[in-house]
Symmetry: C2
Subunit: 228 residues, 2 copies
Amino acid sequence: MKKDKHDCDLQTCMLCRLCIKEWLPAVDNHRKNFSLKKGQLLFREGEPVTGIYFIFSGTVKVHKHWGEEKELIVRFARKGDIVGHRGVGAEMVYPVSATALEPVTLCFIDLEFFQASLKVNHTLLHELMMFYARELQESEKNMRNLVHMPVKGRIAHALLTLRDKFGNTEDGAIDMTLGRQDLASFTGTTYETAFRIMSELIQENVIAVSGKSIAVLNAEKLQELEKL
Amino acid sequence: MKKDKHDCDLQTCMLCRLCIKEWLPAVDNHRKNFSLKKGQLLFREGEPVTGIYFIFSGTVKVHKHWGEEKELIVRFARKGDIVGHRGVGAEMVYPVSATALEPVTLCFIDLEFFQASLKVNHTLLHELMMFYARELQESEKNMRNLVHMPVKGRIAHALLTLRDKFGNTEDGAIDMTLGRQDLASFTGTTYETAFRIMSELIQENVIAVSGKSIAVLNAEKLQELEKL
DNA sequence: TTGATTTTATGATCTGCATCATGAAATTAA
DNA sequence: TTAATTTCATGATGCAGATCATAAAATCAA
């Protein structure tokens, strides 16, 4: 993890955006900027929590492990997103790992200072609470989908979610590249099944794939798949 | 939903426990006590959020629906627990339903007043945030379990969780009665499978069942099942 | 108290998806 | 540039758990 002091602009993340003017210099003082290469681990499930991170550029996957081989991707985080807040709670151990999917620059805030910020800044505290609330809703929705929705529907849902979060490039592809394995881990299935379903969707002209970039051609169809 | 004004003791729920003395009369003023019979619906998924509830006695299941027939139980709430907070967020619609599993008495606080309380009482706000954080951890753990753990493991985990939350009666049974169907919905499986696994566990002398009450005889064995 | 509904119980079958196996293509390392 | 490692691609096989079918008990309604 390369250290660096002049990366973030003090206005991308929620901590800075919601910051009280007087507190900003303190933030500036406490932050530590880092960069990660593709595939590098930010923190690992089970490690003690030292602080939280804000992403300044790049994409990170947040994932839970099962045994050595298997995982479930719980969330993707991008520019401006907070990472590591799942460690806040009773245990003070990260319940997830975070890994860079591409080169990433980010900002580290140690826990103590972050908690001080929450104490000082009630808007921040409230905003963070709402963020947790939204993530909880999301998580439980995904949970239900995992139980009752067939894989095809989950992949449809995942694609729509990703398009929503990352937007489209000019040529209509989702502005994010993720491998089949990650798509599988995100939808709670295996690589092979994910692959087969993607092939089906291509055949049905619902999506178009070239390399790792995926374009949604027929969002309505995906929405249908989401409900049955 | 029978209305009643003299149920809760103003010290069971988090709102009251963390309340600033001066604010307590306001709470007393805004609360509305209700009671539900077994099986009665407290609120339904999709309904607009009007406020939040605190349980004074009894047990409530919080569940998400899929189609007409299927559901997933996301949480059980008991004395002192908050219910309805999942509605707080962007949408202002309950993302879940809540149903009484036995006679329940509870306390309703309208949303506006609750939010005012959060504004006034930062301890409460902080505590609520931590609560969301813990629920999120829980939810994502369950999510991973749904994907990677076989049903038997999930049932083992569910039994341990329930024992933890509800404790034991004198005769060693989990202090809560839930039907097989609810156990199935809680572990994300079907009634039949839940039943079969329970039979296995009984045969293996890991649990004992009489009617709707379940006793854990061998917690270690359940813990083993949890990890593979 | 009796008929109706819900819950419990259990076997027989069916299937979506995981697993296994194998090779080609694409990255990455060296 | 070449060897090593990942990722992509696809068919063959197997199984955990869903679905279907039935009936007895228990609970509830009237």
